[in-house]
């Protein structure tokens, strides 16, 4: 079974579950599922059980996890008393970080730090890493100083490469595919969207659009591999 961890509001995640279900068993997991009795995580030991659709399941039933949630927010917890939501959201985030880091199956992406889906790097980190890897990149500027002149905005269409495990999708250009793969490896991300303009790196994030059948098939194959 493939688990898609997402917001309860995320329609694209529900569509992803439906798409993955064409290849095999798939289920949606939201923060509300963490309020159903049956979760167990041990140290030492790791995850033992989870709860899907109200039913406790052994963790061995999970073949892979796709994370489409950056963090559990209070908005994800309508069944929790409002006064308790900040605490419960923080605890659930910590639980999911620990659970996803320890589960012994492919996870796209494993959490890094406080971010549930991959490295959670800010734009400046991606840009600096690109330069350090020898990848041409557009400079990144942000300023709160009113006297600084606004930088001219680069023009040109964005090209996006989606990295899923060891494979890249989205452009026939080999150099961009290799570059996206390099960045994903440097960040420790198995699922990544890398954006380019005029052959230069612009930005990256760990929430690629997975609405195409090709990408869903690629994701399923990566889990199976």
């Amino acid at each position: 079974m493939i688990i898609v961890l997402a917001s309860r509001h995320d329609a694209s995640a529900r569509a992803l579950v439906d798409g993955l279900a064409e290849h095999g068993e798939a289920a949606l997991l939201t923060a509300r599922d963490l309020s159903a009795s049956g979760w167990r995580l041990r140290v030492p030991g790791g995850p033992e059980t989870l709860v899907i659709d109200g039913h406790p399941e052994p963790v061995e039933r999970v073949d892979g996890v796709v994370v489409r949630l950056a963090a559990v927010t209070e908005d994800e917890l309508p069944d929790i008393l409002p006064a308790d939501r900040p605490y419960v959201a923080a605890e659930m985030n910590s639980f999911l970080q620990s659970w996803l880091a320890a589960i012994r199956c492919p996870v796209f992406n494993r959490p890094v730090g406080a971010y549930l889906c991959g490295p959670g790097w800010r734009p400046e980190q991606w840009t600096l890493w690109a330069w350090r890897l020898g990848i041409p990149a557009e400079p990144m500027t942000r300023s709160q100083l009113v006297e600084e002149d606004a930088q001219p905005r680069p023009t040109g269409a964005l090209e996006t490469v989606t990295v899923i495990g060891a494979r890249c999708f989205g452009t026939p250009e080999v150099r961009l595919r290799q570059t996206a793969g390099q960045l994903a490896a440097a960040a420790g991300a198995s699922l990544l969207a890398a954006h380019f303009r005029n052959g230069r790196f612009v930005a990256a994030d760990s929430f690629p659009d997975l609405s195409s059948a090709e990408l869903r098939a690629g994701l399923y194959a990566a889990v199976a591999a």
């Binding site: 049956g38 995580l41 923080a90 800010r122 400046e124 942000r142």
Partner: protein, 321 residues
């Protein structure tokens, strides 16, 4: 020459004030980013093959590339007095959160000595994750179950007899015994997975690591959580020396976590086994400093100003991440 030392946090915060004072004694070039002045603070960040920019607070400006050391203890900006009446979408709110986001980005990529980088501090907000890192460093850890299953919690208590429960996130909570008086609350357990831990008897130790320097003390208290002990319960804190092997293991563990400052909670059992419960990357060390006379703030200030060297292992493993 890179000289300024930057402090970020709230004036009045005890550890921050202590390090500020210690740096003044060293006649360091100080730049204090006081969160009380968040609406007077601006940052500009430019990144290509190098990191440049500047930071302004009131009329003072610092070149980001010139900063040699940074000590941070920021509070939740959304709760600052300056934002009491602000709402998301309003200029003050967006300015303050934008400032924080740029600061947090810079702290990850700055070449200055950062105590500590946010990414290195993050595992402390997921205690089971950090426990695995502590185990990997060679310390014993208490058997731990995180569950929202009442039957599993009861079975765990049956097996270990003495069990405590506490939070796993960065939210502070009081450690409680899982005794019979708590059974009536088990019905609430399903709402959120909760951490239950084998109670480990022994002598409490708090160990502060600054670079490769060790400041250890013992804590004697009758309370389950000495931090919240009643005034008349008495908390006796005294400086102590750790066995060399344990001290070295602490330094290596902290350096391996890419931390330059940490407060480690440990217990030595009657049989001599050392258990480690948590590595706090932003310790309120002044509480222990006042009780023991240990010069922890001075050590932090010396590390920031370059008067002492960071742990070689932490230096090797620190980087852009």
């Amino acid at each position: 020459m890179r000289t300024p030392i930057l402090l970020w946090g709230l004036s009045g915060d005890s550890p921050l004030d202590a390090v500020f004072g210690a740096l003044q004694n060293l006649e360091a070039d100080l730049f204090f980013v006081d969160q009380r002045r968040i609406l007077e603070s601006q940052i500009s960040l430019h990144v290509d093959r190098e990191v440049r920019g500047c930071l302004q607070v009131g009329g003072r400006t610092v070149d980001l590339a010139s900063v040699a050391g940074i000590y941070l203890r920021p509070y939740d900006t959304r709760k600052l007095p300056a934002l009491r009446d602000a709402q998301p979408g309003q200029h003050a709110w967006e300015h303050a959160l934008g400032f924080d986001d740029a600061m947090l980005s810079w702290l990850e990529i700055s070449e200055a000595l950062v105590i500590n980088r946010p990414s290195a501090m993050a595992p402390n907000n997921a205690k089971p994750l950090q426990l695995n890192a502590i185990r990997a460093a060679g310390f014993s850890v208490p058997e731990t179950l995180v569950t929202n299953d009442a039957a599993a919690a009861l079975e765990f208590r049956e097996r270990h007899r003495a069990v405590v429960y506490k939070s796993i996130s960065g939210m502070r909570s009081i450690v409680h015994r899982f005794d019979d008086s708590r059974l009536e609350r088990l019905a609430d357990l399903a709402a959120c997975p909760t951490q239950f831990q084998q109670f480990v008897p022994g002598l409490e130790h708090r160990v502060h690591i600054v670079g490769d320097e060790v400041f250890a003390c013992t804590i004697r208290s009758e309370a389950d959580d000495y931090r919240y002990a009643e005034a008349d319960a008495g908390v006796d804190i005294r400086p102590c020396a750790l066995p060399a092997e344990i001290a070295e293991r602490c330094v290596r563990m902290v350096a391996g976590m890419q931390l330059h400052l940490a407060g480690i909670d440990m217990r030595r059992t009657p049989s001599g086994e050392w258990f480690c419960f948590e590595v706090n990357p932003s310790p309120a060390f002044t509480y222990y400093e006042e009780a023991t006379g240990q010069s922890i703030a001075d050590a932090v200030a010396e590390l920031l100003s370059g008067a002492r060297h960071p742990s070689p292992l932490a230096r090797e493993t620190a980087g852009v991440s």
